[in-house]
C-alpha cells in the first residue's frame, strides 16, 4: 500500500469511527434490530432471519457511508481543497471501499455472533462463506445505490433521505418480516426491490440452494439504474458549476 493510499484510508476510517452518528445506525442497529425482531424466529426461519439482518447491515453501510460522503463532496470546502492536492483521486475511492468493507464485516459479524448466541442458530462454515459472498455482491449494489443517492441529495438531506428509502426498502424486501408474512400486494412489489433480491440470495446461501438468476438480474438492474443516475446527476452538476 502506498503512503498516500494509507493516509487516505486512515483519514476515512478515523473520520467515520469518531462519528457515532455513522456507526451506531450502520454497525450497531442491524445487530440490535436482529436481537429485537429476528432472534425470536423459530425453526426454518431462524437462520434466514440472521441472513436477512446481515443483508440489512450491508445496505446500511452503502447508503449511509457513500450517500453522505458523496453529497458532502460537492459542498464541503475540505473536499474541494482535497482536489488541489497531488495524487490520484482514485485513492480516495479505494479508501472508501476498503473502509466500507471494514464496517460491513463488523456489522455482519455482530449479527452472526448474536444469532449464534441469542438465536441458537446452527449453520455450517460453508453456509457462512456463501453468505459472506452474498454480502460482498450486495455491497456492490448497495455502494452504487448510495453513490446515486449522494449525487441527488444535498449534504443536509442525505441522511434523512437515506432513511426514507432504506427503511421502507428493508420492510418491502422482507428483511424484517419474512416475505411469506407480507400482505400479497406488498409481496408483489417486493419481488422488484433490491432488498428482496439480496435477501433471497442470502437465504439460498443458507440453504445451499441454487441462486435464482431472476434475483441476480434484479440486483444488476438496480446497479445499472444507480450508475445511470450518477452519470446524469454528474453531468447536471458540471453544467451548473
Amino acid at each position: 500500500m502506498t503512503r498516500p493510499l494509507r493516509a487516505e484510508c486512515a483519514l476515512e476510517l478515523k473520520t467515520l469511527v469518531r462519528q457515532p452518528g455513522f456507526w451506531v445506525p450502520t454497525v450497531l442497529f442491524p445487530a440490535m434490530l436482529y436481537a429485537f425482531f429476528g432472534a425470536q424466529s423459530a425453526g426454518d426461519w431462524a437462520a434466514n432471519a440472521m441472513a436477512a439482518f446481515a443483508v440489512y447491515a450491508v445496505l446500511g453501510v452503502g447508503f449511509f457511508q457513500f450517500g453522505v460522503s458523496v453529497a458532502q463532496d460537492r459542498e464541503s470546502p475540505f473536499a474541494n481543497w482535497q482536489q488541489t492536492l497531488p495524487g490520484h483521486a482514485g485513492n480516495q475511492w479505494i479508501a472508501r471501499v476498503l473502509a466500507s468493507l471494514v464496517f460491513v464485516t463488523v456489522a455482519v459479524a455482530l449479527v452472526v455472533a448474536l444469532a449464534f448466541v441469542l438465536g441458537r442458530v446452527e449453520v455450517g462454515a460453508a453456509a457462512l462463506v456463501r453468505l459472506a459472498f452474498v454480502c460482498l455482491i450486495a455491497s456492490f449494489t448497495a455502494t452504487f445505490m448510495g453513490i446515486a443517492l449522494g449525487s441527488l441529495a444535498s449534504a443536509r438531506a442525505a441522511v434523512p433521505l437515506a432513511n426514507l428509502i432504506f427503511l421502507p426498502l428493508a420492510y418491502l424486501g422482507g428483511l424484517w418480516v419474512p416475505p411469506m408474512a407480507l400482505p400479497s400486494a406488498v409481496n408483489a412489489v417486493s419481488q422488484w426491490t433490491p432488498t428482496r433480491a439480496m435477501g433471497e440470495l442470502g437465504w439460498a446461501a443458507i440453504a445451499g440452494t441454487r441462486w435464482d438468476p431472476g434475483y441476480l438480474a434484479v440486483l444488476l438492474g438496480w446497479t445499472v439504474i444507480s450508475v445511470a443516475v450518477v452519470v446524469v446527476a454528474h453531468a447536471r452538476h458540471r453544467r451548473h458549476e
Binding site: 470546502p77 475540505f78 481543497w81
Partner: protein, 297 residues
Amino acid sequence: MPQARFNDPVRALGLAKRFGTVRAVSRIDLNVAPGEALGLLGPNGAGKSTTLSMLTGLRAPDAGEILIFGHRAGSPQARALTGATPQLVGFPDQLSPREILGYAAARYRVRARIDKLAACFGLERIVDRRVAGFSGGEMRRLALALAFVGEPRLVFLDEPTTGLDGAAQEGFQEVARDFVAKGGSLVLTSHHWDEIEAVCDSITLVDRGETVLEGRIGDIRKRASVSRLTFSLPPETVPPEWMQAVHDGARWHSECADSDKTLRRMVHEALPFHGLTVAPLDLKDVINRIRREETGP
C-alpha cells in the same frame, strides 16, 4: 517587466468564466515569476476567488490558457508543485490539525514537519485537539499551514488573514516574505492594502472580471509619486484654492506631486499652518489616483 517564460510559475492569458448569466471573469491575465509575490486586488465579486479556482484547476475556464510551471492547471505535475488554501474554511470535525497536516504531507509525499509548521502559524496549543469547535481564526491558521505543508514552489492564498489577530497576521507576513525570499512564488488575494504592500512585489487589480491595472508596486508608486500634506489651520482660516485641500473635520489634507515646491509656496503665502506632516500617498490612494487619471473626466 522581464520577459515571461514558458515555465514560469503562473502564466494565464485571457481567462474567462461565467456562471449561468453571471460573467464572473471576463478578461484576466496573470504572470508570476519565480520568487515573486503577486497581490490580487479588487472589490467584492470582482472575480478573484473564481480566478484562483481556475489557477488551481478546480474550475475549467471557458476561455483562455493557464500554464503552471509549464503544466496544465490541475494536472498532477502542477498540483505537486502548488499549495493552496480556500477562501472558505471547514475541516472534518473528527480530525486534529496534526492528523490533517500529516494527511496532506502524505499526499505530497514530503516529510511532515508538523511541529515546525505549528510554531510558524501559532497552532501549538491546538495541534492535537479535534477541529470541532475551533474559532474562525484557528481554522484560518490551520488553512494557512496546509498551504505550505507540501513544500510547494507556488502558493495560492485567498484572503489568508481574514479573521486573524494582529500577531497571527504578522506571523503570516513573516512566513510569506521568507517563502518568497527563498524563491517561492505567491498569489495572494486580500482586501488589506497594508498586507499587500508588506508581502507583495506586484499587484493585479481586477474589477468586474477584468484586469484594470497591473505592475510592480515600486513602478506604480513612481507613476504617481505623490505626497500627502496634512496640517492644521486656525479656526476660520481656509487654505488657498490652488492647494485643493480637503478637511476631514480635524485636519486639512492635500495631495501634491512636488511637496517641496508646495511647502515653499505655503510659507511664501504665509499660511498659518501648524503640525504639518508629509507622507507618501497610501498605495490605495495612489491606485485610485491612477485609475481616475486613466478613465478621466
